[in-house]
Point group: C2
Chain length 160, copies 2
């Protein structure tokens, strides 16, 4: 089956995008993995409206990517902090890949905004495409894509 003949409605890229496939959600997540936890901090730093922020946080919590935890400053009402869950950290490679594209193609000549290094050896960290045998920095020309076990044919109705 060619890709065009496969039903993509349940494809894993689509499933992920149904959860986070929207600019503000990914920017909120970017801030969350960098330690931002409080509503007002997200609002000020990401620069979105309270209504949109509240909506996206609700969706990210419902999707299990962020967890809401109550806190209360003395004399103030109880509010929520938002922390990245283990599932949320599984999106970290998506953010790193977005960062790398932005650095390559819209680079600030001064250098990166954030410098990410491996604690053990101090070397810079990137996402790379690799095979399970350890061959790394693969390009799309070095791989072959075939339909997998859950590929189902796209049903075309006569009215399409």
């Amino acid at each position: 089956m060619k890709w065009l003949d496969i039903d993509p409605s349940e494809c894993p890229v689509r499933r992920t995008l149904d959860l986070v496939g929207e600019k503000w959600s990914l920017l909120i997540l970017r801030d969350a993995v960098n330690g931002v936890r409080r509503f007002d901090d997200f609002r000020r730093h990401v620069g979105l409206s309270e209504a949109v922020l509240a909506d996206r946080l609700r969706k990210l919590v419902a999707g299990g990517v962020l967890a809401a935890r109550p806190y209360r400053e003395p004399g103030a009402r109880t509010r929520n902090e938002y922390r990245v869950t283990a599932k949320g950290w599984d999106l970290w490679p998506v953010l790193l890949a977005l960062k790398q594209f932005g650095e390559k193609h819209r680079a600030d000549p001064a250098g990166p905004m954030l410098d990410i290094r491996h604690d053990d050896c101090g070397a810079p960290v990137r996402v790379v495409v690799a095979c399970s045998e350890g061959h790394s920095h693969l390009t799309h020309r070095e791989v072959t894509v075939r339909p997998g076990p859950s590929a189902r044919p796209l049903r075309t109705s006569p009215t399409c």
Copy 2:
């Protein structure tokens, strides 16, 4: 400077999302890297309206991620094919990372929809987080993030 104090408006994640940070754009790109080239095929397979598809294709071409090339079937009007550019292929790791999250967290028990293997050795292919010294499969706990050379302080106005 902590991340919260850094001006994120030109951050590389944001710059990438300004170009492709929208579900349909990423689904179009998903199809394009799998060989889809023609307007009607994108429309049918991705399942979006002609108006939205036309808008997103225009944006992806303007952003240098897809290239439009004319073709003409005999007896028909000239139309465009859309091909992934070298810059567009630099987004492939983003798509792979989205795919991996979807496979991990919303898995089809039958197995993956697409099977991606290294031509040389036949082993399955993934995005991984690695350092330039070759240490692979790093987690966020094994790295340290510091402000880089282009980090600028977020200016807060008194009315914020």
